[in-house]
Amino acid sequence: MRRTFLTLAVLYGMMLVGVFYWQLCADLAHHPANPRYYLVFQRERGSILDRQGRVLAHSASFEDGYQRRYAAESLSPVVGYFHERYGLTGLERLYQGELSAGRSLLTTLDLELQKKAAELLQGSAGAVVALRPESGEVLALVSLPCLDGNAMDENWPDYLADLRSPFLNRATHGLYPPGSVVKPIVYAAAVAEGAAQAGETWLDQGLIQLPGGAVRNYGAKAHGEITLDQALAYSSNVVFAELAAELGPTVLDYFRRFGLGEPPDFELGGHQGSVPEATLSTYHAAQLGIGQGELLVTPLQMAQVAAALANGGVLMRPFVVQEVRGGWRLRQITRPTVLGELVPWTVAEQVKRAMVLAAQEGTARTKFSEQFSYAGKTGTAQLGSVPDHSWFIGFAPPQAPQIAVAVVVEHGGTGAEAAAPIGVELMFQAVQMSE
């Protein structure tokens, strides 16, 4: 009987070990065949709120469970969507643990600005990113065309057939040649490195011959004798090509310092774009200095450039979620973080002055120039056979910037035609709202 008992004890011991392994050690919770995974789609989850507590996403109770509803279609590139069949993206995915535990997210987004940006861009493909320069808070992040988190089932076949790729988040992952919107960086580099002095004038004859090729102004227009500020305001390719040619590889260092060609430190991620390793010739450097050549940037990166210039040369880390609250755990608060001082304050102030001039009388002038003061820079990314991409970066008000924006309109033509009116009207609305 002793042996029998020992054998039975061993058998029960084996069962106990088996139960221990399968209940506590096996890695099965996230197995795709585990039906428990899909339960999250029927349960109530926390809300996502904008900076003023307006609801961006919530779980609406439905026949047998809950369904996620979103305040605006344009939110999907940032808030994401949450769907039983199509999965989860954006903040819904990043904060899945917190949201499914019933906690809610207080974001830095402003629903009114987000809607306004989407409305202004409506009809085109492109992106708008608006940041708060002093903190790095993301006020709006729009990428069109985008998915509608409220109507995934109905629209899914259209999304798949859409050649403009609505799945791409253009704001963080769209790669565009920047054109003239990089000129503020070249300006800052030239001033910081002593390649140009204030008050110095340049002769712009509409064309400059460099070893390796010639650089022409847009429309081959000659601006005559101009200051550096005027060169930025009128977007003189000749002057900036000359500056970049003089700076040589240093101009690439400044591009990288401003975050171009570097992976962004942003919770939603983003493409790093591309900046060449080295300048191959004087002509190559000159081309890069006016935003042509192998440069590729994302709207988020350009918004960071605008925000850094607005913030006296100090770049803040961009963030979307300022607080995770609710549930039984403590609130989790994101504090603004300095990513680096890119250029001295005096240099940033000089660039700002030139961008204000551009807004008053240069290429960035719009119908709003009379109504409020802002700083801006347009860009036209020349593509050759198809219409150019239209760029705008800017911030307002210049003295104490509350908003910095970057706008790209695919095939929108020149910067002044398409992107600048959108960016400026958005900044105007933001300034109006804060008053």
Partner: protein, 393 residues
């Protein structure tokens, strides 16, 4: 307060907690069923003690039966009802086993013939439910004869082996049982009975050639079954590589493992598990459902209940000798072998053989026969061996 009082005090507290849960969370449940079962188990306990048998197994069985009742009610109240009536019928069988000491009866070969005839009748006139031709209807009463037949066979084997019956006679009865089970495509009981038979033979007189011969027969039988039967092949594949057959052969195994993992340390809580995705969740796979809702602690408690039954049985058997001891050992092994085959199958320790978890799973025939076996065991403790098993005073 002696052991009796303490056991029942604790058990009543446990039952009261369950009843509170039923009252406050699940108002629609038949609250009187657990109350009747509680009274019934108390009655069985008193009767068992009164007639000089050892009642120590009853509290553990009561816990297991209640666990089964709660989970079956939670799955489907009509299943819980079935379990309740099964337990009522089982109590009658328990008393029958307690007072009619079958292992002491003289005509042991009759049991063997009974087992073979029952299976033969099933093979001829049985009904097929769920792939196995395992049901027989007699006088409007439908039951699974194999459950009864395996106890009959063990009653014969206990006596037959201890009396030194010729090996060919034992082997031919066991062999016909195995063949008839195979004919019905129901191999779980066949494996169980063969294991019990081997153990009893070796327990009676150990010899290496017997051990090797029986192991050889087992392996050959296993190999033959894999070659012959496609459902055995499926079970083996589902055991070895369930992840490659996620939505076919391996579905049940994999879903059982998911359920166990979802349980974790303390479980999802009663009524909180995703129980309806597991095929045969109320019979073969109830252990996985328990695991999901009660967690590791809960399954430890359930395994501890079974282990306590084993402890009780072994202590009882130590005081017996000869045919009684061997029969009692056979009945004990029949119970715990089934637990190991079922739980081990769910835990992928061996291929799943598709049997009920004793006292917990739905299945009136199985439950009734388990009660009868328990009654027989308790009956063996009457008379000769009762003194040493009785509670210390």
């Amino acid at each position: 307060m002696g052991l009796l009082g303490r056991t029942w005090f604790e058990f009543t507290g446990w039952l009261a907690a369950v009843l509170l849960w039923l009252f406050f969370l699940q108002g629609q449940v038949n609250w009187w069923q657990p109350a009747v079962l509680w009274a019934l188990f108390l009655l069985l306990y008193l009767v068992t003690r009164g007639c000089g048998a050892h009642p120590g197994a009853l509290p553990f069985v009561a816990v297991l039966v209640f666990c089964g009742w709660i989970f079956l009610t939670r799955l489907d109240p009509s299943l819980g009802q079935g379990h309740f009536y099964g337990a009522l019928l089982g109590s009658a069988f328990y008393l029958f086993g307690l007072f009619l000491p079958a292992p002491r009866l003289r005509f042991s070969r009759l049991w063997a013939w009974g087992a073979v005839v029952l299976l033969g009748l099933t093979a001829l006139w049985g009904e097929t439910v769920g792939g196995a031709k395992a049901w027989l209807t007699v006088c409007g009463l439908r039951f699974q004869p194999v459950e009864l037949a395996k106890v009959f066979l063990v009653l014969y084997l206990g006596k037959g082996i201890s009396q030194g019956r010729p090996l060919w006679e034992l082997l031919s009865f066991v062999g016909s049982f195995l063949l008839l089970s195979a004919w019905q495509r129901d191999l779980g009981p066949a494996v169980l009975v063969f294991l019990v038979f081997s153990w009893l033979v070796l327990q009676h007189s150990f010899a290496w050639y017997k051990l090797l011969g029986l192991a050889g027969i087992l392996l050959a039988g296993f190999w033959g079954a894999v070659q012959l039967f496609s459902h055995v092949q499926s079970r083996v594949l589902a055991w070895l590589a369930p992840w490659e057959y996620l939505d076919s052969k391996g579905y049940q195994v994999v879903q059982g493992l998911f359920a166990l993992r979802a349980g974790g340390l303390v479980g999802q809580g009663l009524g909180q598990g995703l129980v309806h995705v597991i095929p045969q969740g109320h019979t073969d796979y109830i252990f996985a459902i328990l695991g999901e809702e009660l967690g590791f602690f809960g399954l430890c408690a359930v395994l501890l209940c079974y282990f306590s039954l084993a402890f009780w049985a072994v202590r009882l058997l130590q005081d017996l000798a000869g045919a009684e001891q061997l029969t009692g050992l056979g009945l004990t092994l029949l119970l715990h072998g089934q637990v190991f085959l079922v739980v081990g199958g769910i835990l992928r320790l061996l291929p799943f053989s598709g049997m009920t978890l004793p006292f917990v799973s739905y299945g009136s025939t199985s439950l009734t026969v388990q009660f009868w076996m328990l009654g027989l065991m308790a009956g063996l403790s009457r008379g000769g061996g009762a003194e040493r098993c009785a509670e210390p005073s």
